[in-house]
Symmetry: C2
Subunit: 124 residues, 2 copies
C-alpha cells in the first residue's frame, strides 16, 4: 500500500511573489536547484506555478513578464492524499511536481516525480 | 522485481546539435514539451545535456552560448540496466532524466523520473 503525500513531500519549498520578474524566478530556480516554483499573491496564497520549462519557453517566445509565463490553474495535492491519485494527476497533465496546499491555499510542501521514483528504489 | 531501462524509456527523443543556439534549444523544448534535450556532436554522438533548468540558469546569469550552459559529463543509462541503478544515479546527482545510449554513444531513448513514477501507479 502506497504512502500519502505528506510522507514523500519536500517541506522546504522556495516560492516567488507574483510581482517578481522572470529573472528573479530564474535566479531562485538556480539557487535552489529546483525546477518548480509556486507563485504567491500578496496575501501569501498560491496564485500560480512557474517552472524551468516556462522560463525556457519565455526564451523561445521572448516573453518579458512572469505573469505572462506562469500557469494560473495550478494542479495541487493535499497532505492526506494517496500517491496513486497524485501520479494520475501528473500523468494526465504531463507535469512533474504538485505544490501541497492547506485549506487556506498556503504552500506547505511540494511532491514530485523525483521523490516518488525514489520510493520504488527503497521498496526493493 | 523491477523492469529494465528498455521497458520504461521513451523512444522518441528530441536532440539538438552542439552548434545550435540557446534559443533553438528553448524552441525545441517548448515544442516537445520535454525538459531534457541530449546535445549531439557532428558525428551524431552524445556530447552533452541541456535542460530547462540550464536555460533558466542562462536567463539568471545572462549566458549566450549553448556550449556555456550545457552539461558535458552526461550521466547515461543502458538498455539492459536495472531501474534500481538508474534511480540511484538520479538521486545521487539530483537529476530527473538520463539519455539511453548504445555502445557508439548514440541516443536511443530517455528514461525519466516521470516514467518511473508511473510504474508505481500501475503496480497498485
Ligand atoms: C506540460 S509540462 C511539461 C514539462 C514538465 N513535466 C513540467 O512539469 O514542467 C510544462 C507546463 O506544466 C506546467 N505545470 C507544471 N506543474 C504544474 C502544476 N502542478 N499545476 C499546473 N501546471 C503545472 C508548467 O507551468 C508548464 O507550463
Ligand atoms: C542538478 S539538476 C536539478 C534539476 C532537475 N532535477 C534536472 O534534472 O534538470 C540540473 C542540472 O543537472 C544537469 N543534468 C540533468 N540531467 C543530466 C544527466 N543525465 N547527466 C548529467 N547532467 C544532467 C542539467 O544539465 C542541469 O545543469
Amino acid at each position: 500500500e502506497l504512502p500519502l503525500v505528506k510522507d514523500v513531500m519536500i517541506r522546504e519549498v522556495k516560492t516567488v511573489d507574483d510581482r517578481a520578474s522572470i529573472a528573479e524566478a530564474a535566479k531562485l530556480m538556480m539557487e535552489s536547484q529546483s525546477t518548480h516554483i509556486p507563485v504567491l499573491s500578496g496575501d501569501g496564497k498560491l496564485a500560480g506555478m512557474v517552472t524551468a520549462w516556462d522560463i525556457s519557453t519565455a526564451v523561445a517566445k521572448r516573453h518579458e513578464e512572469l505573469s505572462e509565463i506562469m500557469t494560473k490553474k495550478v494542479i495541487t495535492a493535499g497532505l492526506e492524499e494517496p500517491l496513486e491519485l497524485v501520479i494520475r494527476k501528473m500523468e494526465r497533465s504531463n507535469i512533474s511536481a504538485l505544490p501541497v496546499i492547506d485549506d487556506e491555499r498556503r504552500v506547505i510542501g511540494m511532491v514530485s516525480s523525483d521523490e516518488i521514483s525514489k520510493l520504488i528504489g527503497k521498496r526493493k
